[in-house]
């Protein structure tokens, strides 16, 4: 499988900070996969996304950056110094920020992206409607985008990016504002999207991406603590208990038992010391 994104010894230290936000990060994200970047708050997940989207190079001129990045076969030394939209689309953790407020309806809000790309009005409907359908927000087309709920705004924000048909979609904490049902819907949508788009999502809770990710990267204090396939991650999941509040850890393991083969579950039970 070819590589959509790779970083080589990427280190980032923000101006005025003693310790680096990212420390010699080398990762390879395969094309057409959903890659979850996991880590507790402050481990450099968002910094890595900013580096990949071009935000770091475009807006953090004071930061010290070393290493290199390759995105879609294009090498950047050390990081892209301009926003890579529409090749790379980035959905921020607060979806309401992504609503421009320029348009009166959710449909027009999504069309704002196409306007920016110079796509003629007559082609807007054919580009937008399939995404509204697949995201389950077709019924919101005529609603005021600034008055949507968190989950609805999240899906509209994703639609505003997907209409640009990016090769790579970056999502910062996409599940955090969603209830269980909408998390499930988003998970299904992302799985469907990976046919055409490589998806990278940053999450602090492992249970949010357990059933979604194909490839997993775990960051700890700016360093890569784990990188590998979903299957490999499941085998080592017990090493990363900081990625879940302790009260839901066991519950997650039980969910895991239903989706993995029996030997793995037995091993986890043995490691965790659960006898029942």
């Amino acid at each position: 499988m070819s590589c959509a994104i790779s970083t080589n010894q990427l280190s980032v230290t923000y101006a005025g900070q003693a310790s680096p936000a990212l420390h010699s990060v080398s990762v390879r994200i395969p094309e057409g996969t959903i890659c979850a970047i996991l880590g507790v708050t402050g481990t450099g997940k968002t910094t890595l996304l900013h580096a990949l989207a071009g935000v770091l190079g475009a807006h953090q001129s004071g930061a010290s950056v070393e290493g290199s990045i390759s995105i879609g076969g294009v090498d950047y030394q050390p990081v892209p110094n301009t926003i890579l939209f529409p090749t790379v689309a980035f959905v921020l953790d607060d979806p309401t920020l992504q609503i421009s407020g320029m348009r009166d309806t959710a449909f027009d809000e999504v069309a704002f992206t196409l306007d920016n790309l110079g796509i003629p009005r007559e082609r807007h409907a054919e580009r937008i409607r399939p995404f509204l359908q697949s995201l389950g927000i077709a019924h919101l087309s005529d609603r005021n985008p600034t008055q949507l709920s968190g989950g609805e705004a999240q899906r509209v924000a994703i639609a505003t990016m997907l209409v640009a048909e990016p090769r790579i979609l970056l999502l910062d904490e996409p599940f955090s504002a969603l209830d269980a049902e909408n998390q499930h819907k988003l998970s299904l949508l992302l799985k469907d999207l990976r046919k055409t788009t490589t998806i990278v999502l940053a999450e602090s809770r492992v249970d949010n991406v357990l059933t979604t990710a194909d490839h997993v990267i775990v960051l700890e204090r700016g360093r890569v603590a784990f990188e590998g396939s979903h299957h490999a991650f499941i085998h080592r999941i017990v090493e990363f208990d900081s990625l879940l509040p302790s009260q839901v850890w066991k519950e997650t393991m039980e969910r895991l038992a239903t989706m993995t083969d029996q030997p793995v579950w037995k091993r986890i039970r043995k490691v965790m010391g659960w006898t029942t």
Partner: protein, 242 residues
């Protein structure tokens, strides 16, 4: 809507030219027209809050008229004495000078305010973008729009948070003045942060690299807009000729 924005912008230009080029006795009827125009459909305020702001502004404008006339009448001596309070004498020449100044300021500010309270800013930005407004300036205007829209609710949130910490924020004028210091820092900081993030979010949607006017239909300019611009030019020419 887009047609009406073009006409309104022409009207604004016309009133601005009038404010500088016409004599005060001709400006006063124009101010009267603006006050009445607020009740017509094209100039109806977009929200109730803006309607209240307009009413308040009229009151402040009236106070400005009175203050400028009184102060000038007191210090510019000339013409008949209109009023006399002990040693204070109010002269007609000064009063007229104050009235002329207030009339110009009043016409400029009322015309501008009426334009903005009756036009959703996003429609104005859209119109200007269709005519080639640069995406970065459009982004700055959008930021301002969001800031103004969110300001009242943000102030309420911060005051509520301060109140929850035991601060007296809704008492008398002194208490409110004291709470202002506790309000300003979080208000300014959170606004700057949100503006930065919102700017980034728009940039991430390609707003900064949009081709100005390339993909937007330019609305037709109504005949009344041309007439108003022509009238403004004629007034300017007459003013320079005299």
């Amino acid at each position: 809507m887009q047609r009406s924005i073009a006409a309104k912008l022409s009207l604004l230009l016309f009133f601005w030219v009038c404010a500088f080029a016409l004599e005060w006795n001709l400006i006063l009827p124009l101010i009267g027209i603006l006050v009445v125009a607020r009740w017509t459909i094209p100039f109806r305020p977009v929200t109730d809050r803006l309607a209240r702001a307009w009413n308040k502004f009229l009151l402040y404008l009236l106070l400005l008229f009175i203050a400028l006339m009184a102060v000038n009448a007191l210090f510019i001596k000339g013409g008949a004495v209109l009023l006399e309070f002990g040693p204070l004498r109010f002269h007609s020449e000064g009063a007229i000078f104050g009235l002329a100044t207030a009339a110009r300021v009043g016409l400029l500010s009322l015309a501008t305010l009426l334009m903005f309270i009756s036009t959703p800013l996003k429609n104005l930005v859209k119109f200007l973008q269709a005519w080639g407004l640069s995406p970065s300036i459009a982004m700055v205007i959008l930021q301002a729009l969001f800031f103004v829209q969110k300001l009242p609710s943000r102030i309420d949130q911060i005051l509520l948070a301060q109140e929850a910490r035991g601060a007296n924020v809704r008492g008398n004028v002194l208490a409110r003045a004291r709470s202002l210091t506790a309000l300003l820092a979080p208000l300014v900081l959170s606004s700057i942060l949100e503006s930065l993030q919102r700017g980034l979010a728009l940039e991430l949607r390609g707003a900064l690299h949009a081709v100005p006017g390339a993909d937007r239909e330019r609305p037709a300019i109504p005949i009344e807009a041309y007439v108003l611009v022509l009238l403004a030019i004629i007034i300017l020419l007459l003013r320079f000729a005299s």
